[in-house]
Amino acid sequence: MRPRWRKVFLDLFEHKGRTLLVVLSIAIGVFSIGVISGAYVIISNDMSASYAANQPANVEIRMSDFDDDLLAAIRNLHEVGDAEGRRVFNMRVRSTQEDQWVTLDIVAVDDFATNVLNLLTPVAGVSAPGRNEILLEQEAVEALRVQVGDELVFQLPGGSLKTLTVVGIVQDSLTGVDDFLAPPCGYITLSTLPRLGQAQTFNRIYASMAEGQDDVLHIRTVADDLRERIERSGYMVVRTSISLTHEHPLASTVNAILGILLALGVLIVFLSSSLIANTLNALLNQHLRHIGVMKLVGGRNRQVFVMYLVLIMAFGVLSLLLAVPLGGQGAYALSAYIAEQLGFTLQGYRIVPLAFAVQIAIGLLVPLVSGLVPVVSGSRVTVLKAISGDLAREAEAGSGSRGRVKRETGWERFQTRVTAALARRGIQIPRPLLISLRNTFRRRGRLVLTLFTLTMGGAIFIAVFNVQITLDDYISAIGRYFLADVSLDFDRPYRLSEVEQLATQVEGVVDVEGWLFLSADVLDPDGMVVENIDILAPPADSVLVSPILVAGRWIQPGDERRLAISEAILAIFPDLQPGDLLRLKINGHEEDWEVVGIFKFVGREGILAYVPYEYIAAVSNLSNRSYSFRIVTTQHERAYQVMMGERLDSCFRQNGFHVRQAQAGLATLDKASESLDILVTFLLIMALLTASVGSMGLTGTMSMNVLERTREIGVMRAIGADDRAIMRTVIAEGMVIGMISWVLGVILSLPFSLLLSSIVSLAVFETPIALVFTPTGYFIWLGLVLVLSAVASIVPARNAARLTIREVLAYE
């Protein structure tokens, strides 16, 4: 090996700590980009591929009961590729070992063997249940805590109990895929229906298109046509929904979230580049003498430049060796996690060429770009300047004999005057602390870069907490639209007074409201159905709905054919305003309804409208009666709600009521929160990665500071500073930097929170939501940044304390 390459090699391995720091800081950026870009590619391919592989129906029609004749007629339509009928209903279920009831959506399939649409992926056990057997979706298995072979207890509306055996576990990538609030599913054959007290008929049609399976307009036209035919045949259509074969309904959401993660990954790369610049600057400074000597013996600028360039590339290559394999594994692990959460299957582990290329490009380019300036200026330094570098530094430090008397800078005068003024007021700052405070500002360029990385990490960290609380707050705000402490549903209508009288006898019940529900189609001016809406009819003065109004007013008693509608309607009629008329088709009749108000709601959950109970009850001949009741209890915690649900359920059953279900209000919301928690966890991981880059930056800075101040540390030892005093001085400096970054992070977290919450809310809820702040993030970050700063300074501080004075104070 030629001497100069040998020098490069030695430079790389001489200071292992420094090399490790640079390599790790590049590697973290490369790793995050690798994970996210890899996951992005894997998920966008596999999510839709897996979705398509399960043959999603393009049209799903919820309707009144029907039989094979109607199904055969639909199958015969030339636009329809295939059609299947299923019966879907929900029921209270528990395992034989547990007391906890769970509401399960039960899907009855005619024949699992010939089933061609909305396929299930077997996970365990058999893939087709026999009579009195059931398959469970993975999520249901978790909720019910059962295994294959266990018995499940079903509570029929009349109160009687029936059991079915769990014979298999499946993954259902399609049912309720885009519904955060959907309950878990179980699958049975039609022959099991009588055992559960259900008619052996279908209530849903699933149809695929013969062609144009990814053409929204075509599918919508066919769906409208189907609907009309069905209605003409005397059936009632409750709801129609459509989806494309090759596009997962959540693809855009997942992509948006991966986009956010990608942006954070890019930020990490950016931050790590400032760390690299810092380290290389210090390295070049330390190597000034080497450079001088090399030039003295004939080294040219270009040769020196190339040497250090090779050194930088070596840092890059080392980090790639570390980050690329880990990034590939991480990408697949992240994809597998998302796939499991969203219920789709991956096509197997693979190397993503795009991610591989991006990682290599970043791993080599980022250090190159960030190191270019220090390397160019380092290689151009003159021999004289390089050789006299130490003397220059010594003079700069004020300890050189050659230094002439200088004027103090304004900043220096300010520092000493402030301290003196404080001292005059009796506030004495111990001198070791003064050293830490003033040292903090000595290398301002380095301080700025360190603060930048740490502040960014902190701001994102705090923002993630704000976003989490914002999402939680929004979810609970959504809850206020339709969820009481307990929802009590019956199989037949009961008089309000009757239910109220019995319910109020149950201890803990405060209020009872009867609600009605309705489904309608929104028609465009041409009379085409453009969307389904769910209409909720609470009492006009209901205490259980606190809407977030965007425009107009809320429903009032006496409103007739007037509704308040969720803002998702604006996606169809962007100019809709309160006072405008909306053409709806309800129970087969077309009617014009006046919009009185527009309110905020989760766009993904479809369009929701509210009308007064009193009006709907009157037109449905259900005056003073209802199927569904909302109950308010004295306490509102989940456990209490569950307990009250059980209590009300048994009370009403004992009194001969046909209870369908009594559900705790928070149960559904918790499910929604849980799915958002996954997102928040990812954001938090990214924030922690950012913070770790920040703290590595701080470690680097503190190490460089200690290295440059060995002489001062030696002097402190010489005049009586013990190990603890030296360590305290170094750690205090790190913590001062940490505190400054916290203050800056608090300020910067405001725009970050706004940005992140609006991106996330648009991606997840399809509506912007109001930002809510929580002190949690600020406090946790304060604690964390102090701990990180202390930890980041401990190694440099220990190194400082280990320096023997002989090493730092050369006498001769």
């Binding site: 010594e394 430090a397 004020g398 300890s399 050189g400 004999s401 230094g403 008397v405 200088k406 004027r407 103090e408 220096e412 520092q415 000493t416 005057r417 301290t419 003196a420 001292a423 009796g426 004495q428 111990p430 001198r431 070791p432 003064l434 050293i435 003033r438 040292n439 000595r442 002489r711 001062e712 002097v715 402190m716 030892r717 010489a718 005049i719 009586g720 500073a721 013990d722 190990d723 603890r724 005093a725 304390a801 023997t804 004075i805 002989r806 104070l809 006498y811 001769e812």
Partner: protein, 393 residues
């Protein structure tokens, strides 16, 4: 000897000690790729409280290593270093030694080594903070007093870079005095100062010695050495016998060291004859302690003391350089015993032949002494009872 402790301020030096510094057989060996290198070769050195000691030696002689041993900055390979009654390398960690140092000795560096980010006042307060000495509120007042002692009262709020190098060194001395240590160790304190500033610093040192401090100072500057109460020369890792330094100061250090090795130490009781008149003289005698009397015997066998020689003086040189027999009797003073360093004739002549300056100086002394002798012989007992002070310089 006391067992060191670390809190709050370990082992303040006892002022009643016989020796404030006591080095016993100190060896220091450095190892590097080229092998082992012995820098200190068994140093024995005792310094009493209140002494102002200059340590002199060429570059690489080991004087800084010696200083590092005393300040606890480096540790010996073998031997004992007892400073202020504390064996500082026994049961004491580096960290504990730092604390001990902060309380017990002040260090003054050649390049001042003030903390550049602290004002002069804050620099002086720093050791008090480390040692946790004096009430927190008292520290400012004490630091101001120390700065005023070194003439910097008007510059207390200045940063080191904003004052002259002489003022920086004065501030460094004030800092060394911050915890009121009995011992000040200074490494070339005037090496970077102009002569005016250097004079001021040495004057300050004298003032400190007068107030009871002990000062040990490494220096190259002969004018500074001259103002110290004691000079210790180190050469090739060994201390030169101070008797030889005082007797033959113009000799090269190499030769002094050689004499230190070759000379024999002898003690004579009071009144005992060391050389008789007309006796063949084959050694140079250097007085380490006590006095000798040079006596001429009259015809009536009455003794005339023509000269009294004290510590640092030598005799026998006339006979060694000019040949012949002793021209007078030399005996130990009747007042007490005398300790002599006796150097064989051949060794003396060989070394003198290599040191023309010393030879010339000795020649002058011989000339003068012969003249004095002749004068006494011709004019009777003129010099009797008059003590000659000091040896040839």
């Amino acid at each position: 000897m006391t067992v060191p402790s670390v809190h709050p301020c370990p082992t303040r030096t006892d002022a009643s000690l016989e020796n404030i510094i006591d080095l016993r057989g100190v060896v220091k060996t450095f190892k590097n790729a080229a092998g082992e290198f012995v820098v200190l070769k068994g140093i024995d050195l005792q310094i009493r409280p209140g002494e102002f000691v200059a340590v002199v030696g060429k570059s690489g002689s080991g004087k800084s290593t010696l200083l590092n041993m005393i300040t606890g900055i480096d540790h010996p390979t073998s031997g004992q270093v007892i400073v202020g009654g504390t064996d500082i390398y026994h049961n004491m960690s580096e960290s504990q030694r730092s604390r001990w140092r902060g309380c017990n000795l002040g260090i003054v560096f050649q390049f001042f080594q003030l903390m550049p980010m602290l004002s002069l006042l804050e620099n002086v307060m720093l050791p008090m903070d480390f040692a946790n000495m004096y009430d927190f509120d008292e520290r400012t007042q004490r630091a101001l007093e120390l700065l005023s002692l070194v003439g910097l009262e008007g510059l207390a709020e200045k940063l080191p870079l904003a004052v002259s190098t002489g003022q920086q060194q004065s501030a460094a001395i004030a800092r060394a005095l911050a915890t009121d240590p009995p011992l000040i160790v200074a490494d070339e304190p005037t090496g970077n100062l102009d002569s005016h500033s250097a004079d001021a610093i040495i004057a300050l040192f004298h003032q400190l010695v007068d107030s009871g401090k002990t000062i040990m100072m490494v220096t190259h500057d002969p004018s500074v050495t001259a103002r110290a109460s004691r000079t210790v020369i180190i050469f090739d890792g060994q201390l030169i016998d101070e008797t030889i330094v005082r007797a033959l100061p113009l000799l090269r250090h190499r030769h002094m060291l050689e004499f230190s090795r070759l000379a024999e130490r002898r003690t004579y009781p009071p009144g005992q004859t060391i050389i008789s008149r007309q006796q063949q003289v084959d050694s140079l005698y250097m007085i380490a302690r006590g006095e000798v009397e040079v006596v001429l015997q009259g015809r009536l066998r009455d003794d005339t003391v023509i000269a009294r020689l004290g510590a640092g003086d030598f005799f026998g040189e006339i006979e060694l350089l000019h040949g012949g027999r002793s021209i007078a009797n030399v005996r130990a003073s009747v007042d007490g015993p005398v300790e002599l360093l006796v150097l064989p004739r051949d060794d003396f002549l060989r070394v003198i032949a290599e040191s023309p300056i010393t030879a010339e100086a000795l020649g002058t002394i011989v000339q003068r002494r012969l003249e004095e002798h002749r004068a006494v012989d011709r004019r009777g007992v003129r010099l009797v009872g008059k003590k000659r002070s000091g040896g040839p310089r």
